[in-house]
């Protein structure tokens, strides 16, 4: 393509950041120096050059990490290296929250002020930071640092949480959780002085997985026990036995076992996993490549289970993906990890390298002729990319806007080829099913809610963390498992399923946490969030934060969600401030209508669920009436 670029040129450092990822340019056609004898007589470009568009997100990450922002010159160079029009590169870069298109201090502290952290002092923390460093978004430390308010960072069990990222030749990130003003500011100073440790987090699994080491655990049995960096340790603890067993069973039997297990997707949509696998498997005769994608873009406020699995047991994720690849006939898998999860990214990257070295990924897995490899892709701060079709667009190098369904990813997925997209928790159930048998797995749990489930318990609770249980316990059981109600000790509300879920009242605690049980009270399990609020919490402020979350995170593609999420927040603000247009009843009616239009007419699940929690609270507690 004939690119039209402005005169802005990339600095040597910006070029180096991109070349480190893509290699040196081959000719002046893709950004190198002009060599008239060579370049003038051949065209280097066309389909081959365009086929690298999927590297756009990694390229933008490379610039952001090295420089701290993406300049017009760097954008031009990215554009010419990948043969993508600069307007399109700009469109993609401006979509993601982690990229800055204007100069920004190299050290950024993202301080979570979302609902889980609200219950544990995020408000006071932000107020102190404002006092000491100035308002959010203003540079401090002589222009070397900046702090920003952030949506949920997925560190809810250690709230309040913050994430510090430092750009530079060796970019570093550091999780600060629980965060206090002093440790946050001192870590920011360490980052400025290049003194951040290589490891982005000091994870105490015992804190995140209070059940760690208990005998009954299946999904979490290795969490906190296994050395997450050692494939040998994983193998010694039963790792890859399920893959070996899968080879004995054959692809069809594996899929049958997964169907028999009644495993439903754990990302929130609860689609039967076996059906997805079968749909892709059945298209093998068409001869197109198939893909397996692990959706690890966990961003639902209050959700952190996938992070803990990836950090604590990364090989289990790879084994689940490899079995999926074997079953559906895919040779390539992508794991799309949330951008705000540096430790999970590092552990998975290490696990991929270790698995390749042990021939557990690659051209001939376990000497059985299976070809399957996994590539890790980092998200860049967009909740919407957890929606599976937005995730596909994001990997392909487009804006992370959801696609209309049908066609579903199993028919037309990544690069418009048949694709299985499974959540992290879904995939780590696969070895259990393969080794124990689908029928046996289906008997675990209750009714159609089969198997084990991870719950993310946080907020006003004594021992926040990820808890595993077979389906069946009630909300009360899970709260008891976590040591009971914290804070004032008097429960006001529980949020099930995250910001896209719904509130339940203390009267409903005997509801079983199953798909059927929650549906019966008009709630949803979603991603397994159980977020507690004590009676000191101002629920109206929580609702406002949820509304602000959706206003920030809507991709803006469809009208109901783009404008509806803004209007919803505006109505809520008017109700909270008692400055209604017309009567309160009229405003409540407006809110109901906005909600219905968003639920009915939005393209994807984000808009369809953006009002659920707010309406559930309004109806349960007759708020504002």
């Amino acid at each position: 393509m004939d690119l039209h670029l402005t005169a802005a040129a990339a600095s040597a450092e910006e070029q180096a950041a991109i070349d480190a990822l893509l290699g040196e340019p081959e000719s002046s056609w893709d950004g190198g120096a002009r060599q008239i004898e060579r370049d003038g007589r051949a065209v280097f470009g066309g389909g081959t050059a365009r086929s690298r568009r999927h590297l756009l997100l990694p390229v933008l990450h490379a610039i952001q990490e090295r420089i701290g922002w993406i300049s017009p010159g760097a954008l031009n160079y990215a554009s010419v290296r990948l043969n993508v029009a600069p307007a399109e590169v700009h469109g993609v870069a401006s979509f993601y929250g982690m990229f800055s298109l204007s100069p920004r201090p190299p050290v950024t502290a993202h301080v979570c002020d979302d609902i889980a952290c609200m219950t544990r002092g995020a408000g006071a923390l932000c107020a102190e930071l404002e006092h000491k460093l100035g308002p959010a978004g203003s540079p401090s430390e002589g222009g070397q640092t900046i702090w920003q308010r952030s949506a949920c960072l997925g560190l809810c069990e250690r709230a309040p949480a913050a994430l510090i990222s430092a750009a530079g030749t060796t970019a570093r990130e550091r999780v600060v959780a629980p965060a206090a003003t002093e440790n946050l500011i001192s870590t920011m100073q360490d980052a400025v002085n290049g003194r951040l440790p290589a490891e982005p987090d000091t994870l105490s699994t015992k804190l995140s997985v209070p059940q760690a080491g208990q005998a009954q655990l299946r999904l979490l049995r290795r969490a906190g026990q296994v050395d997450p960096s050692s494939i040998e340790d994983y193998l010694q603890r039963g790792g890859y036995e399920a893959l070996r067993r899968s080879f004995e069973l054959g692809a069809e039997r594996v899929i049958q076992e997964v169907i028999d297990s009644k495993l439903l997707g754990r990302g929130g949509a609860a689609f039967p996993t076996g059906k997805k696998w079968e749909a892709v498997h059945l298209q093998r005769h068409l001869g197109y490549p198939h893909y397996v994608i692990c959706n690890a873009d966990e961003s639902e406020p209050g959700t952190f289970k996938d992070r803990i699995v990836m950090e604590g047991d990364p090989f289990a994720v790879l084994e689940g993906m490899t079995i999926a690849g074997f079953a559906v006939g895919a040779q390539k898998g992508y794991v799309y990890v949330r951008g705000e999860y540096p430790l999970a990214t590092e552990r998975l990257n290490h696990a991929i390298r270790a698995a390749r070295a042990q021939k557990l990924l690659g051209q001939d897995i376990l000497g059985r002729g299976l070809r399957f490899d996994v590539e890790l892709r980092r998200g860049a701060g967009a909740y919407i990319c957890g929606e599976e079709t937005a995730l596909l667009n994001s990997i392909e190098g487009y804006r992370g806007e959801p696609r209309n369904k049908p066609p579903f990813p199993t028919q037309s997925g990544l690069f418009h080829l048949p694709t299985v997209v499974n959540n992290v928790e879904t995939l780590i159930n696969i070895p259990e099913i393969i080794l124990g048998g689908g029928a046996a797995y289906a008997r675990i749990g209750k009714g159609n809610s089969a198997g084990y489930r991870l719950f993310c318990v946080s907020g006003h609770v004594v021992r926040p963390g990820v808890y595993e249980t077979p389906y069946g316990p009630t909300i009360r059981n899970v709260i008891d498992m976590a040591g009971g109600v914290g804070g004032t000790g008097r429960l006001q509300a529980v949020l099930l399923g995250g910001a896209a879920g719904s509130f339940v009242s203390p009267m409903e605690l005997d509801t079983p946490l199953t798909f059927e049980g929650t549906r019966a009270i008009g709630a949803t399990l979603g991603s397994g969030v159980v977020l507690l609020f004590d009676d000191s919490t101002d629920l109206q402020q929580v609702l406002l934060r949820i509304a602000a979350f959706f206003r920030d995170e809507t991709c803006g593609q469809c009208v109901p969600c783009r404008v509806g999420s803004v209007r919803q927040e505006e109505v809520l603000q008017r109700l909270v401030r008692r400055q209604t247009i017309g009567s309160v009843a009229e405003e409540r009616n407006t809110l109901q209508e906005i909600a219905q239009a968003m639920r009915d007419a939005s393209i994807c699940g984000l808009g369809q669920t953006a009002s659920g929690a707010i309406l559930s609270a309004m109806n349960r507690w007759s708020l504002f009436s």
Binding site: A85, P86, A87, F95, L101, T554, Q557, R567, A601
Partner: protein, 306 residues
């Protein structure tokens, strides 16, 4: 002495065999669906929108255009499909045998009305007659969100002689991006940038058009449904209060510049050309033109100077 030259070979080789013919497309299978209780047969692959139009049911559309890939972003065309949890966009959802569709249910009317409320409360719709007609039809009440509702109001961008961009009128239908991109021009001068309510159409870093890849084909103006993109001539006349469509004539003619044969529709007022468009259904242009056909008519007024 030079060799006697050979007779020149024809530039276009004469085929040795009969000229290959494009095989006639196999007739598409007809499928039957039910819309508002009426049965209608459409060819396989047709959309619900095509089926409603076949029945003469008026389905509103804003981001849809026959010559562009449906992006189903505006959601004003949603219909109720039995068995579907949510409403579905008629413009892009393919008809499947046995579908039962409702276009006038409460849910459909509410979503359409709210979409129009949302747009009209955030965007200046003063030059979008189609949208305003839909608002009338569906009883939209954008004022219900109050005078302080957030809008996309901003100053118009006038950075060249040929056309201007007023993004306070933009409903983000994606049509201009598609026309600038793979659906017509393949220039990629503009893209959607930003996210959420601040998503907007933009060149890279919002540079002025003359610095961008824009080739001034004006195909984006041709598809804009709200007047956010407008000929400078029209914009100036509107500003001066001398734009009067009732006084305008439309004359179809062939572009005089090259041999492609694009059809032009010349819009003139008081004997002066005020803008040029091209019919969407014309086999050569499908509504698209280049800078010369679209803008290269100022010479017609130069007689006055001589």
């Amino acid at each position: 002495m030079s060799e006697p030259s050979q007779a020149p070979s024809p530039l276009i080789p004469v085929p040795r065999a009969p000229v290959p013919q494009i095989p006639a497309a196999a007739p598409r299978r007809e499928i039957e669906i039910t819309i508002d209780g009426k049965r209608v047969a459409v060819p396989e692959g047709a959309t619900i929108l095509e089926a409603t139009r076949k029945l003469g049911i008026d389905t509103p559309t804003l981001c849809f255009l026959e010559t562009l890939t449906p992006v189903n972003a505006c959601r004003v065309c949603v219909v109720e499909l039995e068995g579907s949890r949510t409403l579905v966009p008629a413009c892009s959802r393919k008809a499947e045998a046995g579908m039962a569709v409702h276009t006038e249910s409460e849910r459909v009317l509410l979503s359409r009305r709210l979409v129009l409320d949302f747009l009209a409360s955030s965007v200046d719709v003063s030059t979008a007659p189609t949208l305003r007609a839909y608002m009338e039809q569906y009883g939209a009440r954008p004022d219900r969100f109050g005078a302080r509702a957030q809008t996309v109001a901003q100053a118009p961008k006038i950075d060249n002689e040929l056309y201007m961009r007023d993004y306070s009128k933009c409903i983000l239908c994606y049509k201009c991006v598609e026309a600038c991109g793979v659906d017509a021009q393949n220039t990629f001068a503009i893209s959607v940038a930003g996210r959420g309510f601040s998503a907007h159409i933009s060149t890279e870093f919002d540079i002025p058009l003359p610095q961008s890849a824009c080739v001034y084909c004006g195909n984006c103006i041709g598809v804009c449904p709200t007047g956010a993109l407008m000929f400078k001539t029209e914009y100036d006349r509107r500003a001066a209060g001398t734009w009067d469509e009732t006084q305008q004539t439309q004359t179809d003619t062939i572009c005089p510049y090259c041999g492609v044969g694009c059809e032009l529709t010349v819009h003139a007022q008081e004997g002066q050309i005020v803008k040029v468009s091209s019919p969407l259904d014309h086999s050569v242009t499908q509504g698209n033109l280049c800078i010369k056909g679209r803008f290269g008519w100022q010479f017609t007024d130069s007689r006055a100077a001589t």
